[in-house]
Amino acid sequence: MSILVDENTRLIVQGITGREGAFHTEQMLAYHTRVAAGVTPGKGGRRVHGVPVFNTVREAAEATGANASIAFVPARFTAESVYEAMDADLPLVLAVAEHVPVMDMMGVHHAARKRNCRVIGPNSFGVISPGKAKAGFMAHRIFAPGRVGIMSRSATNCYETVYLLTREGIGQSTCVGNGGDAIPGSAFVDILPLFAADPGTEIIVIIGEIGGGEEELAAAYIKERVEKPVIALVAGRNSPRGRSMGHAGAIIGADGGGSAERKEEALREAGVHIAESAADIVKIAKRLGA
């Protein structure tokens, strides 16, 4: 089993005629993802790698019965694309672009909740359920099917972890890129219930980092509701205060808010196993019987 994305996902690619959209459509098809349709305004009627292109998400969804969408569009068009997909009643919408304005995402986040839509990203590599399907741009060769569920604010830290896990013969049920922005469409606490309920996930890995309070919220949820073992890595313990470390969301406040120490403390208190590095995650996973 897996969460969010699998062989039943029928995906729309928004921005499919763009360079990134076209390239990753090909990659997703190569991974046997069912890419049902593409959308680029004004380019309806074309095909990209055999996938039919529509002018709007609504038309694409009506014609193909698609049930998810991913926006391969620049940051300044991302909110508009996500609204369009939400307005077409798609239950799952992903966005990959980095540097989407906070103001845009605040609106998207709350609109999504009112429309019962799950938004993943932005600034996210997407979601992959190894061996089944992927919606995103992750280099899929390093992933292997298995029973570790991963969610991460960082693409590179997730890749490194997955690479080391796979090398040790430990596969993954689903890997979710929550994204590195200050306002994610879905935070750890939004994805946790899915992993907790998924019979195919035995160990949950959280790859967090400094900034915000998503790790603390996850810790509170885990303490009350999650029985499965959870491993967490919080990157950025030694980053300078008051400076964004590349990810817009990765910043320790001048008062020390959002520090790795506070997050680790909350997670540890919730019974989560704290890892100090990607290699450490693998060690702990092995110890837990993965």
């Binding site: 964004s244 990765a250 290699a279």
Partner: protein, 381 residues
Amino acid sequence: MDLMEYKAREYFEAFGIPGPKGFVVGDLAELEGKVIDYPCMVKAQAPVGGRGKAGGIRPAGDAAELRAACRAILGMDIKGRKVKKALITAQVRPAREWYLAIALDRAAKTPLVIFSPAGGMEIEEAARTQPGTIVKLNLDPVFGLRSYAATYLLSKAGIDPKYAPQFRDLLGRLHRLFHEGDCLLAEINPLAVAGDGTLQALDAKVTVDDSALYRHPELLAFRDEVEDNPLVAEGRKAGVLFIPCDPAGTVTVISNGSGMIMSSIDVLAKNGLAVGAALDLGGGATAGRVGETVRIALSDPGAKAVFINIFGGITRCDEVAAGVGDFMDRHGTGKPVVVRFEGTNKEKGVEILNSLNRDNVVFVDGLYEGVEALAKGRGAP
């Protein structure tokens, strides 16, 4: 990005938030011909806080005092930043001082209005000493700001309803500024209250979302003006993010993602190596960009060694290696360059690095091996 007060005041003015008249000078000559109402205030413009304590805010009763204050403030050093501009405003002696701000609430993912009748001091200080005086209200972005918000804030704070019309108007303007200005913070502290209900912003604090700067092109020039680290600007030109870290650090980290940079710094720090700066290549870097990044990294006088740590997904390891080789051919360095990569085209990359035949360029197969190499011979084999 934090705006300095004079820049934030321009925002306030554009959205019709009332405040005392003022102007900004870069040197004494710019005082010539200005009409000034005495007494006035002279306020240092610096991209850091704590200017009051540093003597950066001074009253002036006449022209001589004004010149003396400007002379003292212009060029002064506040927390390592040189003051290049001074703001001169009329002096206002308010009957009372309130606090009003709209800030991003990351946890709730909404704007948060913060209001307190105990203004003037730092709000953190007020929260500690007089917690009962602070009223907060989250604004659902789908609803926006409605008129009942102002009513609620005043009622909850126990303020005379006679202030409501002015306050509602001011809150509306601040909210428009916050929203249209793509702010993470828009703060008025103190908000001066005259007996007749007239409200005036005596200070202006605005933080703008860096991701939204494309909607505010006028701020791009300001950003370059504020940035006093030339390597940040150089990195920007090369499409690379330069992040200054520990001023005492000697290792410079180059990586292809924010998460990887933070992890690298953590692993190095755990082994007693402090990182002075980090550079983020982003995804899919070419040999050209890698070479330029290494050049920028080594032009930092504090850099005694470079640690390149890459997980190659979209970024190819052979491009990274070629970039290092390119840099060595063009510029060269005797400083240790320790390279660790994993992923796409790793073998080809290792071959390229080995063929460079440079003692100070070392490939390591793993993060910990890299730390060891840096810690031991500072990278030398």
